[in-house]
């Protein structure tokens, strides 16, 4: 199997603060890979560094066989798309859904916009009726669907998901997770997904990396985690915490 992303010794430094301290990982093509950790562990920074939104101090990122330089070319931004945590912050408040979906098409000079917009909206379960609405007329779950549609419209091979459901209600979260799984199956996408919730990661991903303080704690398969076959105390703590409150 070929690798979709290879990250080697990635360091991200903000002023003097080292947010990522030499992290390496490999995501295979078609795989769904999870990053788990508490706030400040560097999991989101890792995603942002891959897309070029965080300052890389050293290390390399290779996506689909191409090692990325300081600037990324247009093909990269077409092939790799990101969905952010907050559906209230990631959609332009003064643009209709139609306009939001046109934007990436215009940037990349793609002609058959009409067909693509209809297909993308259809795929995320929003009918044509949503096409000329504004973000404020949509619920949180619907907005996240629009954000996913915007990511899919360029037909990427790799989706970076940064806590895509943590701002949503539990029942809406289930719908969005189901949608993500469905589009991955249909389009044979690779996922790199960040979450603080172990249950979501084991549900969505085959392999995962536990992070703490900008470093990798350990890499596990989902079945190892489910079977509690973990070697680090930190992971064990996280597992215990995710089982909920137990009165002593």
């Amino acid at each position: 199997m070929t690798a979709s992303i290879i990250v080697e010794g990635l360091e991200v430094v903000f002023d003097r603060f080292r947010a990522l301290k030499g992290v390496s990982l490999e995501v295979r093509e078609g795989e769904s890979y999870g990053l788990v950790g508490e706030s400040g562990s560097g999991k989101s920074t890792l995603l942002r560094a891959i897309t070029g939104l965080a300052p890389v101090a050293s290390g390399t990122v290779t996506v689909n066989g191409k090692t990325l330089g300081k600037t990324r070319d247009k093909a990269f931004y077409r092939d790799v798309q990101m969905v952010f945590q907050d559906p209230y912050g990631s959609l332009h408040p003064r643009q209709t859904v139609d306009r939001l979906l046109q934007e990436p098409l215009a940037v990349h000079g793609i002609a058959d916009g009409e067909r693509r917009i209809e297909r993308a909206l259809d795929e995320v379960g929003l009918g044509k009726g949503f096409r000329f609405r504004y973000a404020h007329q949509l619920s949180g779950g619907q907005r996240q669907r629009v954000a996913i549609a915007r990511a899919l419209i360029l037909e990427p091979s790799l989706l970076l998901l940064d806590e895509p459901t943590s701002a949503l209600d539990a029942s809406v979260q289930a719908e969005v997770l189901n949608l993500l799984e469905e589009v991955r199956r249909r389009r044979k996408l690779t996922f790199l997904m960040v979450s603080h919730d172990l249950a979501i990661i084991t549900h969505m991903c085959e392999r995962l990396m536990v992070m703490q303080n900008g470093e990798a704690v350990e890499t596990l398969s989902a079945s190892q985690l489910i079977g509690h076959r973990v070697s680090e105390d930190y992971t064990r703590n996280l597992l215990r915490a995710s089982e909920g409150f137990v009165r002593v």
Binding site: E38, S171, V172, A174, A241, S242, E243
Partner: protein, 278 residues
């Protein structure tokens, strides 16, 4: 139950909007003794507005009505604002979601705790300081004297939330309303904060209303759970019997979360019925 701490009967909270009146809470009734009651619901279910109405923090443009809203025999709807103020923070306290926003950013943590205490009790500055430090110790802050002089931005989320709990408990309230007290915290910190809250509530024999969107968390923490949907109570159930919940909404909420070790693809989703909101 012998001593009813809080009685709520047919509570309604109505907001005027441009498109007419919106009822956020539509006839909620429950009573509370010295026990832990959870209120669970999704965003917009009216759970927070219920808590705020009890606390007397409903925005002025909204209207609160109820057949009965009584705390320890005091009718909360007819008391003077002055009397209400003396209850709030003294006998009824509230913990909010995010310490980043609910603590005063330009006041040290210690001063905020002392302020709460001196508002409600006549104590000397020295004694107030002593009691604030003791309270910080009680919420398991290792070095209370240091944290006393720190500003909220200088502490972590978990520490801030502990300081918030300390501030709310320092006056020795009888009823505590905790509105999503741990939702802004990391999972491991969440458990620490819940442990502290659990211990203090049990030791002091307070009544607790725990408001949260997380049904599983609430059921592991509380004795009884009130499930709200669209401003109404759809089910009241003992936490230990949650597995036998009757209402499809409660069951759906329990069911739709991914769980470690339970492979379900796709996840079951809620099939919302209009009659739930009726």
């Amino acid at each position: 139950m012998s001593d009813m701490l809080l009685e709520v009967d047919d509570l309604r909270v109505t907001f005027p909007t441009r498109t007419g009146l919106v009822q956020a809470v539509r006839g909620v009734s429950f009573s509370l003794g010295r026990e832990r009651l959870g209120i669970v619901g999704e965003s917009g279910s009216g759970k927070s507005q219920t808590g705020r109405a009890i606390m007397g923090l409903t925005p002025p443009q909204a209207e609160v009505s109820a057949k009965k809203l009584a705390f320890d025999g005091i009718d909360l709807l007819s008391v003077s604002p002055r009397q209400r103020r003396s209850l709030r923070g003294n006998r009824i306290a509230m913990i909010l979601q995010d310490p980043k926003y609910s603590l005063d950013p330009v006041m040290t943590i210690g001063r905020q705790i002392v302020e709460t205490l001196r508002t409600h009790e006549k104590v000397s500055k020295a004694e107030a300081r002593e009691r604030a430090l003791a309270m910080l110790q009680a919420v398991q802050i290792r070095d209370p004297a240091r944290v006393f002089d720190l500003y909220p931005h200088e502490v972590s989320g978990g520490m801030g939330q502990r300081a918030m709990i300390a501030m709310m408990l320092v006056t020795g309230p009888e009823l505590m309303i905790a509105d999503e007290p741990t939702s802004a915290l990391d999972v491991t910190v969440q458990l620490d904060v819940l442990k502290i809250l659990d211990k203090l509530v049990a030791e002091r024999g307070m009544g607790l209303i725990f408001i949260s969107h997380d049904l599983r968390l609430v059921s592991s923490f509380c004795d009884r759970v009130v499930v709200m949907y669209a401003g109404k109570v759809v089910e009241q159930i003992k936490a230990s019997e949650l597995r036998d919940a009757q209402h499809p909404y409660t069951r759906g909420l329990l069911n739709c979360m991914p769980r470690i070790g339970f492979e379900r693809h796709p996840l079951p989703v809620l099939d919302r019925k209009p009659e739930w909101a009726a």
